[in-house]
């Protein structure tokens, strides 16, 4: 059996390294060859049969703590207190040691009480430090973290030196070992989880208000300090129950990472809390699974890595806040702006010629936009691809389609309306309005254009004396082809 364990470990390590450090893969390639696939499957089967009692405890514990940490972490994150979790988790260490010293054994209740008190003391010290000194909050957090943790390390070393403390397993609190969870630990975790759910459910409105606008909460008569301290108490509870499974150092990760992931996935707090709970549970379960595969491996780091993996997925693929979506929509937006600018330039050339002819040569366009001939030809081809213009072969000129004309008029109309608005309503001098309008013309939606029209009394000339294309004009050009649009929806701004 030891041989298979070893191969499992080697296999897992090899996989990890392959996955994470492609550059190192050669080094471990030899070892991957030694894998005995069976042993991994055996171990995985053992996991899913849930026969091991210690495995059942570990899994339940991991899921419970993932749930609680995800829930409280969401509130921490939106309150911009992410690292308070880190500080509290380090600050509980002396409390754990003191709880152990109470009757020299690993009594879950004594340790729980001691650690909670130490955590609360830590969060109180941070508040006092920032209130009474000129130190910034991050320094105060770091101060409390380091000071309390130092004291904790001293105490733990002293306990381990004692004859009775040697086998105490108190060092397990540093990195966590979910396999060492017992039935009484699980009961405690379940109690805390139920308590957390109940309190958050009851006081959701208060927590929400205090998280986003403490000043408002104070004005409507909510007991802001009480909500804050109550929340800190819950946080200390959850940190303490998570300690045994993930360890002091990595609790903060379970608080921050699932919450940050769900922050990327949702814009509503209640949805964010629910998603964070689910993500926390999933990372807890995955962590327990991986750590079970590799046998003696600590559970905490695997939970954290699973949570981080989920975060990376959300970071890349989140529907609205993911990097890929952002990049894509930025690209689409800049393409649209580029096309609209070309259309506008074409319109200006046509307007200069008083619409006596239909085509615009590349040369004229290049002169109007002050760019090279090649660049203007390229932007004309782009218009053709989008169906806004036709480029008859061999003519070096472009003719707007009805749709292209409509778009060009719309954008010029947006521009001139905005210029007029700035001079009339905001008292800008007429020579200062162009740059502003140049930016806003691409963004103005239909509603705002309607408002502008009303406010400007359906004016027909912009501050520079140029005519503003009227809605009727836009419809009639378009209508030449398709017989007119239903009333009012002349369309402004964004193409569909």
């Amino acid at each position: 059996m030891p041989v298979t364990m070893k191969t499992v470990r080697v296999h897992l390590g090899g996989l990890l390294c392959l996955f994470l450090f492609a550059s190192l893969s050669q080094v471990h390639a030899a070892r991957i060859g030694e894998i005995t696939e069976i042993s991994v499957w055996e171990q995985a089967l053992r996991f899913f049969s849930f026969r091991d009692p210690s495995l059942r405890f570990a899994l339940t514990g991991a899921i419970l703590l993932g749930f609680t940490c995800g829930m409280l972490g969401s509130f921490l994150l939106v309150r911009k207190l992410a690292l308070v979790g880190d500080t509290i988790s380090h600050a509980v260490l002396p409390g754990v040691a003191a709880g152990f010293l109470w009757n020299m054994e690993k009594d879950p209740v004594a340790i729980f009480v001691g650690a909670t008190l130490a955590g609360l003391l830590g969060s109180f010290m941070v508040t006092r430090l920032t209130a009474t000194t000129k130190l910034k909050e991050d320094t105060a957090l770091g101060m409390v973290l380091a000071g309390f943790f130092g004291i904790g390390i001293c105490l733990v070393t002293m306990i381990q030196r004692l004859p009775s403390g040697n086998k105490s397993g108190i060092d397990k609190f540093l990195f966590g070992q979910a396999a060492s969870l017992g039935a009484s630990d699980i009961q405690l975790m379940a109690v805390v989880t139920v308590l957390t759910i109940g309190l958050v459910w009851l006081f959701y409105k208060e927590l929400l208000t205090v998280s986003f606008d403490a000043g408002f909460a104070h004005c409507v008569g909510m007991p802001v300090p009480w909500v804050h301290h109550g929340f800190m108490l819950l946080l200390a509870f959850s940190v303490v129950i998570a300690l045994q499974a993930v360890g002091v150092v990595l609790v903060s990760a379970m608080l921050i990472t699932p919450a940050a992931t769900s922050y990327l996935l949702s814009d509503r707090l209640h949805r964010m809390v629910i998603i964070a709970c689910i993500l926390g549970m999933v990372s807890g379960a995955l962590g327990a699974f991986f750590s079970f595969l590799g046998h003696q491996l600590p559970t905490g780091p695997f939970m954290v890595l699973s949570a981080a993996g989920l975060f990376v997925l959300a970071f890349l693929f989140a529907p609205r806040h993911g990097v890929i979506h952002r990049w894509w929509s930025q690209r689409a937006r800049s393409g649209q702006v580029r096309r609209e600018n070309t259309l506008k330039a074409v319109f200006h050339v046509l307007e200069r010629e008083e619409f006596k002819r239909e085509g615009v040569t590349f040369m004229e366009l290049a002169e109007s936009r002050r760019q090279t001939l090649e660049a203007s030809e390229e932007s004309c081809r782009e218009l053709q691809r989008m169906g806004f213009a036709t480029l008859p072969p061999g003519e070096k000129a472009l003719y707007l389609t009805p749709e292209g004309m409509r778009r060009a008029q719309t954008i010029v109309r947006n521009h001139r309306l905005w210029e007029l608005y700035l001079t009339d309503a905001a008292n800008y001098p007429p020579d200062h309005v162009h740059d502003d309008a140049e930016e806003i013309e691409h963004i103005l939606g239909e509603d705002i254009v309607r408002q502008l029209e009303r406010q400007l009394n359906f004016a027909s000339r912009d501050p520079h004396g140029k005519p503003i294309p009227s809605p009727e004009e836009i419809v009639s050009v378009h209508g030449a082809g398709s017989g007119g649009l239903p009333g009012g929806s002349t369309g402004y701004g964004k193409p569909s």
Binding site: A82, I151, M158
Partner: protein, 350 residues
Amino acid sequence: MSELIPAWDWQNVVVAPWTTDLPIYGWIVLMGFFVCAACGLAGNYLILRRMALVGDAISHSVLPGLAIGFLVANAWTVGGSADDASAAGGSSHGFSYGLAVFIGSLVAGIVTTLLIEIIHKRTRIKQDAAIGITFSTLFALGVVLISVYADKVDLDADCVLHGEIAFVSIQPFLSFAGHEIAPAPVIRMGIVALLTLGLIVLFYKELLVSSFDPGLASSMGIHATFVHYALMCWLSVIVISAFEAVGAILVIAMLILPGATASLLTTRFPKVMGLSVLHAALSAVLGTHLAIWLNSSTAGCMVVAGTGLFGLAWVFSPSQGLLKQWLRRRKTSQESVREPESEHTGIEGA
């Protein structure tokens, strides 16, 4: 409790370290001082830049760099030499180990800084959460690497957290021209501390301006981003050279404690620098005595001593200490009692 705290023994705790046991404790104190001073000097800039917790982050996230450095070095010296090297203990791995670990930690420092920036800039996640995600993930990665390759990496996760500075004096001595001068880690840390001081003296203006006013810095032609990354890199060098000997906890604490204590006592930056070095020296000495008395982790005791000094400064600082604030409040309220008709003063005193 009595078995937890040993009896106070003046001779053993206070006198002996400076007389009979000087060859042991001298090096420990010196090493502690070098670590605390180097961290304290660099930490001042972290505090100024409101990045106190970035120091915490970097000292956690160099762990995977360290582990990968070890693995790579092992791959280089395939064969029997790996076992010999790990048997010989912490610092005598020879040049390739030193270099691999050094590069690994440097890369880890840069990667941490980059990841924090990317998460912070590319998404709507705030900087503190980005710091939290980055360092905890990297630390977890480091712990996993160490436990998977426990037989290959001469590191112990516990030891990394609160490494034992007390072993510093039994490390092999570095000899020069036939004379044994000092244990190798002490020499290394001394060089790092001196280099830190030298770099700060050399780039004092750049560091100061870019810390207080990045806008002014860039108008003076100082590349603020470059300064930021350079500071982070140097931070990881300090962290890594302190790591093996004293563990992460002393580093994290000493990045913040000296600067925070000094800034309670004065507002002039050069004085802050001087006071933080003084704080480093005091906490190294007091911490050693405390550790001898309590028979506890030396690094942990140095942190406790440093925290104690901070507590003293908090209460007794002549300009902004708690005592001073209390006296000032009392004086104001007494004045307001003396002239009860002035409602305005009464409100101020309350």
